[in-house]
């Protein structure tokens, strides 16, 4: 080995280090996504499948026409897709924890939270990809934007942000339970009812009264309503604020819980 050289070090300012380490680990996630694109298949195929099934099978019955129903359903499916996408980060992290690489991270003088933050940020690209693929597929089926492109992009960004924030809840689940199968199971049990007891598939007013109460606070309802407004040019009301509020709540509640659970796992 060569003689011990003076190693140029970067700033040791703590918050800066956390940001820098998290970004380095984000890069790691991106390389992994790039190397294993097949991991994206399920999340990209599923929304296409749902669009076809619901539009062509139920469209006539629910909305009286497939084209009208597609306009209504597309934002809902997008919301469902990002919510489902959050499950896979919980599953992946649960798997990763078993692997030696997390031992290596824990033996380095970096913040414990950096690997988790890196994984969550790395997932942004997954949400962007599923958003684009869902959009493209819906477009082929005849979905059209009726608002300015800027509004539409804002709608998509809102969906991505929602996915990233919600993923902290599933990271928490991933830290709590023992097997990745259990993470998948719990994720489905939570996300499925959330998407059906919402305005994803049908208008809120068609639901039984007792359920409407839940639907009205359901974070997915607000996300879907925001996107409908932003894509179709209808009024958004304060649904965007509600959605942002939910996003903040997910992070404020579940990020500390996930980090604490991760620390305890050691």
């Amino acid at each position: 080995m060569t003689a011990i050289a003076v190693q140029p070090l970067k700033s040791q300012f703590k918050p800066l280090r956390l940001v820098r380490h998290s970004l380095e680990l984000t890069k790691r996630s991106l390389i992994k996504t790039w190397r294993t694109p097949e991991a994206l298949i399920d999340v990209t195929v599923q929304p296409a499948l749902f669009l076809v099934i619901f539009v062509y099978i139920f469209g006539g019955a629910i909305a009286g026409g497939t084209h009208e129903y597609l306009q209504f359903l597309m934002p809902g499916i997008l919301a469902q897709t990002v919510a489902m996408g959050a499950i896979s980060i919980g599953v992946n992290l649960n798997n990763d924890l078993e692997k030696g690489i997390f031992d290596r991270f824990r033996s380095l003088p970096i913040a414990r939270s950096a690997p988790l933050i890196g994984a969550v940020l790395g997932d942004v690209v997954r949400y962007v990809i599923v958003t684009i693929s869902t959009f493209a597929f819906a477009y082929l089926m005849g979905f059209r934007i009726h608002a300015s492109p800027l509004h539409a992009i804002a709608g998509c960004l809102l969906a991505v942000l929602f996915g990233v924030c919600l993923s902290w809840a599933l990271v928490f689940v991933g830290m709590l339970v023992r097997t990745s199968g259990a993470v998948q199971g719990i994720g489905f049990l939570v996300i499925m009812p959330l998407t059906f007891a919402s305005n994803v598939f049908v208008g809120t007013f068609t639901l039984p009264g007792w359920m409407q109460g839940f639907v009205k606070v359901n974070p997915l309802t607000h996300l879907v309503q925001s996107m409908r407004g932003l894509f179709l040019g209808t009024p958004v009301g304060n649904h965007v604020w509600w959605t942002l509020g939910w996003c903040a709540a997910f992070v404020i509640v579940f990020m500390p819980l996930a980090l604490a659970a991760y620390r305890k796992k050691v």
């Binding site: 280090r17 380095e24 790691r28």
Partner: protein
């Protein structure tokens, strides 16, 4: 600054009913190699994980370079390099990407991290495979990458958990050479092993543990003396020479013990030093005896344990 780089007192760790460590003491002076020798399940990995801050001890304390592994974990982490028993690199990243990642996580500038990665890849003979994902590496390559990964930050204290298990003899020899270089450059190394031979080849001091307890702590020389030293084995080319060979071997043996036939046509005697080998070679040559096999063996771990504990087998599953 302290000169005891690794210091542990009364480490205790339980996993449910299993008592993995039941009061382990260790002390490793700066610039030395310390061998922790023990069979499967002895508690070696548990001890290494506590010393490298991955596990909290239930009782007892440990300091690395004077920093407490629980209270000053972050400071400890900046002084140590860990090569665990199982590979701990990212399988999807290439060898180079792994090393650069660890360099940047250690706050090296990008250029310094790249330079360090290149240097380590060269040193560990991985330059050719540097840009392939680590999951395509052979077991030996992975082991080397793993060791390289723990050296990125030029740690003062290096933990190696069974670094040569699963390596072929020539790769094992290379790994030993690496350890010697590290120590020569000023690092302190704590390594675990199941082979007395390895501990003997590298360590300045050996701690033998079994069932989570220290059962011996000595220099290799002392330890060998306790467990009865080495065995010298000779196979004369002509079986007619067996008797004469036996007499020569007895003359160099510890306490002039008579030779025993351990395998067909092979005679063995216990000896207490390497001089016995040269001595016997000279006498065999004078007597005009041609040999086809001549070797020295250290006692196996089984024999060491038998001698130290008086029990034949500690868990029924060690090699």
């Amino acid at each position: 600054m302290t000169d005891v780089m690794v210091e542990a007192e009364g480490l205790v760790k339980r996993f449910g009913e299993t008592r993995a460590l039941q009061g382990v003491d260790l002390a490793v002076p700066r610039g030395t190699v310390h061998g922790v020798l023990g069979p499967n399940g002895a508690g070696k990995t548990t001890a290494v994980r506590i010393l490298s801050t991955l596990l909290r001890p239930d009782a007892g304390q440990a300091r690395i370079a004077g920093f407490d592994v629980v209270r000053d974990a972050e400071k400890v982490r900046s002084r140590i390099g860990l090569t665990g028993q199982y590979a701990s690199v990212d399988e999807d990243l290439t060898g180079r990407q792994n090393l650069v990642l660890f360099g940047t996580l250690l706050d090296l500038r990008k250029s310094a991290a790249k330079h360090r990665a290149k240097e380590l890849l060269e040193w560990f003979d991985l330059t050719e495979a540097a840009d392939r994902p680590a999951k395509t590496y052979s077991g030996g390559m992975r082991r080397r990458l793993d060791l390289a990964a723990s050296l990125v930050g030029r740690p003062d204290v290096i933990f190696l958990d069974e670094p040569t298990t699963g390596l072929d003899p020539s790769k094992r020899e290379d790994m030993w050479q690496v350890v010697r270089t590290l120590v020569r450059d000023g690092s302190t190394v704590l390594l675990t092993t199941q082979y007395l031979e390895e501990a003997e080849a590298l360590a300045d001091e050996i701690t033998v543990i079994d069932h989570g307890r220290v059962i011996a702590n000595d220099t290799p020389e002392q330890l060998k003396r306790i467990v009865g030293g080495q065995t010298l084995e000779v196979r004369p080319a002509d079986p007619a020479d067996l008797e004469k060979t036996g007499l020569i071997l007895a003359s160099v043996a510890t306490n002039q013990k008579p030779a025993e036939m351990t395998r067909k046509g092979v005679l063995a005697v216990p000896v207490s030093g390497d001089e016995a080998l040269t001595e016997s070679v000279a006498r065999l040559a004078t007597a005009g005896i041609v040999v086809t096999e001549l070797s020295m063996h250290l006692p196996s771990l089984d024999e060491v344990f038998f001698t130290l504990t008086g029990r034949k087998d500690t868990e029924g599953n060690h090699k």
